[in-house]
Subunit: 217 residues, 2 copies
DNA sequence: AATCCAAAAAGTGTTGACACTTTGTGGATG
DNA sequence: CATCCACAAAGTGTCAACACTTTTTGGATT
């Protein structure tokens, strides 16, 4: 996600802020203090400000003049919005990947899929990442890998439960891979959309349950 | 797209750079000179740098250390990538809008659709914008209105031809609106995807023709 | 004339200082 | 005791100067 070479301080600071978010030291919705960050990283405020501005452009940080920058916080409705977007975009991604990826690539995915444990949550996103990387459309790849998956990782690192994670996801992944290997782009897209759509609906159920609870209590 | 109140110089500079892009004074792929921009806007380089960093975060500007920032330039393959993404996202947008928008809103769109001239290119994107705004998913709305449509406007302002613009787009728009009014989300999504898919294919035809030309000459 | 290298010029990266805004504090007032 | 206002403290916004990198220039060499 970040450039390998960090020739400039701004890049380094951005990576450091990223890792502060991943580690949870700065919580979602938390505030970013320029002087504190500058002291911590032993730099002046300029690079910190530019790094924050770049994060703001990415939508990871919200800011109003003269107020501290706030890390974006994903509410459950916002996570649902991300999932609705994923359903559309990942459907297209798998459609494109089904024709763009080589037999060897697909076989490799299938074999590594068989050997790895099914229940690992990192594995869950892994298939989606590899499809995004294999779809051949760089704009779609960036949207998924650099924005949406990143947000979901942050969200998962906080709320212990993994949004939309269900037991039969493993079997659904396998079906998607089979459809890709059979070069059935239409089927692969349908399966992927159903896969993410089910996760979306389980999130909506949670949301409704929460609303019922709050209205009762 | 931009905040109404510009309490800070950075915001003003960002808007000014935007208008330089829209007006074509800075061409796609052109370079941004910090000192020249600073002098032009009568500010120091700090705000200019922060504005550029924010644009970089948005993906509108590319930058490598110690080299001048370059405005992103859309090649035809990249425009096709945008259209493939649009096909997926706008399909979902119209699906959501079909259930989210009120009868009054849809009727208003239908009537304003009848009265306006069909061939205006601004009208073309207008329907898409209103669907994006009415879909109720703010993340999808921002992706379409703040990023993709903006890029396409820039591209159209340059290359005289409007990408994917065909004569029967008007009739297709009308069909989509009818499906929405009939609350047939599935049909509306199919029509929208077909609508954008046809535009994508006409772009791909242009690309193939260009490649043939260059290989011959 | 063409090539190469050093110095100057132009441009970007970073810093510390200063100006402005917001927030917190403490005392005077009712 | 509560309220309000002035003042200090903290934090953000902007600027001008300096350091570093890249590009250009101009001449020396072949």
């Amino acid at each position: 996600m970040l450039d390998g070479q960090e020739r400039t301080i701004v890049d380094r600071v951005m990576r450091e802020i990223f890792s502060l978010l991943l580690s949870g030291e700065i919580p979602l919705g938390g505030q970013l203090n320029e002087v504190a960050l500058a002291e911590r990283f032993q730099v002046s405020r300029g690079p910190v400000r530019e790094a924050v501005k770049q994060l703001q452009g990415r939508g990871l940080v919200l800011k109003e003049p003269y107020l501290k920058a706030r890390v974006v916080s994903l509410s459950l409705p916002e996570v649902i919005e991300v999932f609705q977007l994923r359903e559309a975009v990942e459907g297209m991604a798998v459609r494109l990947a089904t024709t763009a990826m080589s037999d060897d690539e697909l076989d490799e995915m299938l074999s590594s899929f068989d050997t790895t444990a099914a229940s690992d949550s990192a594995i869950d996103l892994d298939l989606h990442v590899r499809i995004a990387e294999g779809c051949g459309n760089d704009r779609i790849r960036r949207l998924l890998c650099d924005e949406l998956y990143y947000l979901l990782r942050l969200y998962r690192a906080r709320s212990g439960n993994r949004p939309g994670r269900r037991g039969d996801a493993f079997a659904e992944h396998w079906q998607i891979l089979r459809a890709m290997r059979a070069r059935d782009a239409q089927l692969a897209e349908s399966l992927m959309r159903a896969h993410i759509g089910r996760a979306t609906r389980s999130l909506q159920d949670v949301l409704i349950a929460e609303q019922d609870n709050s209205s009762k209590g």
